[in-house]
């Protein structure tokens, strides 16, 4: 079996790419010929109804601006306290990392790790990696490490949960409100803005970035 693939693996891979502008539905494997989409138009699969492609008005420059804004807001959302509780004049507030370290100390390390990953490391990695790719794409170039970065972005995609956390803060406020004085702190507003930004650039089709900056022969 191995003998077959030995001669010039790279050459064989080069020929594997199909030149015609085709598109395959990820959900059912139906093949389509690609057509240019009008502004705001989306293409859906005729067999299974999944989204195939959507038109993108945003250029790399605009996307980069969005990602950099998200980075600033992300830093604020993490640095500022989220909520303050008051009881008998005593006050307790926490940040995201306060929550993560506290769960660790309370013998809930699994929860601590889940929160650190889905609310801090993965969103941060997503913002930084996307920013890195776009920084170079703006100049029409491929960023160093483009390939592994794009693959990492693909796998990171389902594991960022900032929007769930914002809903969680809301539920916590309502629950705590029964017994305590609750003051939402700037962190929660930064989080709300972050979620809006994340929703906007969640629409960025990673597959389009592959085409935006074509590979150059070295």
């Amino acid at each position: 079996m191995r003998g077959m693939s030995v001669p010039s693996h790279a050459g064989a891979a080069e020929r594997a790419e199909v030149p015609a502008p085709l598109l395959i539905c990820e959900h059912c494997d139906t093949v389509y010929r690609r057509r240019p989409l009008a502004r705001g138009e989306t293409a859906r699969c005729a067999r299974c109804g999944a989204l195939l492609e959507r038109h993108h008005g945003l250029g790399p420059g605009t996307m980069l601006a969005l990602v950099l804004t998200a980075l600033v807001v992300f830093v604020e959302a993490n640095a500022w306290p989220i909520v303050t509780l008051g009881l008998n004049g005593e006050q307790v507030s926490t940040t995201l990392w306060g929550m993560i370290t506290f769960m660790w100390k309370q013998d809930a390390q699994v929860v601590s790790v889940l929160a650190a990953g889905t609310l801090f490391f993965f969103p941060l990695a997503k913002i930084l990696l996307l920013g890195w790719v776009l920084l170079f794409a703006r100049a029409g170039r491929r960023a160093p490490g483009f390939r592994p970065v794009m693959v990492a972005l693909h796998y990171l995609h389902p594991w960022t949960m900032s929007e769930v956390f914002v809903l969680g803060v809301l539920v916590s406020i309502v629950k705590a409100h029964l017994y305590f004085d609750v003051v939402p702190d700037p962190g929660v507003f930064a989080y709300a803005v972050l979620v809006v930004l994340i929703t906007v650039f969640a629409g960025i089709d990673l597959r389009r970035l592959w085409e935006l900056v074509p590979e150059r022969p070295a």
């Binding site: 077959m4 067999r47 009881l87 889940l114 597959r207």
Partner: protein, 207 residues
């Protein structure tokens, strides 16, 4: 089926990672020329992996619901909350709207995921042609709603960090929340390892 040809009928294969359309070469360990990921027609051992993850998730789901997820103590008064009792408390004392949201995220969504994925697995295994479009839609729904179940885990974590008033009021996490967090991760992995292309395949081929 010539109007809507499928990839294997044209000798094509779409990269699962970057979407590039490639020729389906009869080479073992073929890799995508654009992103370098291994090319395969269907997700590897999709049904077996999805079953394994789904069953593991279901096993953990039992202690996640039976065991309390959070302890609230105030002036010697100790109260242990399960997921369901948390929803009830929210309904009675807080806001019914949020109780509905938490009930949906913590109870309805995980149960829907178990039911939908098991149905998809059984019907895909049989190569059933029954309600294909509806099954495809159900899969996309499950993929979309899955991670919202983490809601209760974050609520417990945040309340624990905030409610620290010594003898007056304390909140601590209990093992149920750990099982619940793991259940959510496992159900997410299960829905990711299911290959929706199998819904449209005549008989199950799992390579």
């Amino acid at each position: 089926m010539s109007a809507l040809p499928r990839a294997h009928e044209l000798g094509l294969i779409g990269c699962h990672v970057c979407g590039l359309v490639c020729r389906d070469a009869p080479v073992p360990d073929a890799a995508c020329p654009r992103c370098g990921s291994p090319l395969h027609r269907r997700k590897t051992a999709s049904c077996a992996r999805t079953w394994a993850l789904l069953i593991a998730a279901f096993i953990l789901y039992i202690p996640a619901n039976v065991l309390p997820i959070m302890r609230t103590a105030s002036l010697g008064d100790v109260d242990d909350n399960t997921i369901l009792s948390g929803v009830v408390e929210l309904w009675v004392k807080g806001s019914p709207d949020l109780a509905v949201i938490v009930f949906t995220a913590s109870i309805l969504v995980p149960l829907t995921k178990f039911l939908v994925l098991a149905t998809l697995l059984v019907s895909a295994h049989r190569g059933s042609a029954w309600a294909r479009l509806q099954r495809a839609r159900l899969y996309r729904l499950v993929e979309f709603i899955g991670y919202w179940s983490m809601l209760d885990v974050f609520v417990v974590a945040l309340l624990t960090a905030l409610v620290q008033f010594g003898v007056f009021s304390l909140v601590a996490p209990l093992p149920g929340v750990i099982f619940f967090g793991l259940t959510v991760v496992l159900t997410m992995l299960a829905s990711m390892s299911f290959d929706p292309r199998l819904i449209w395949d005549g008989r199950s081929d799992d390579d």
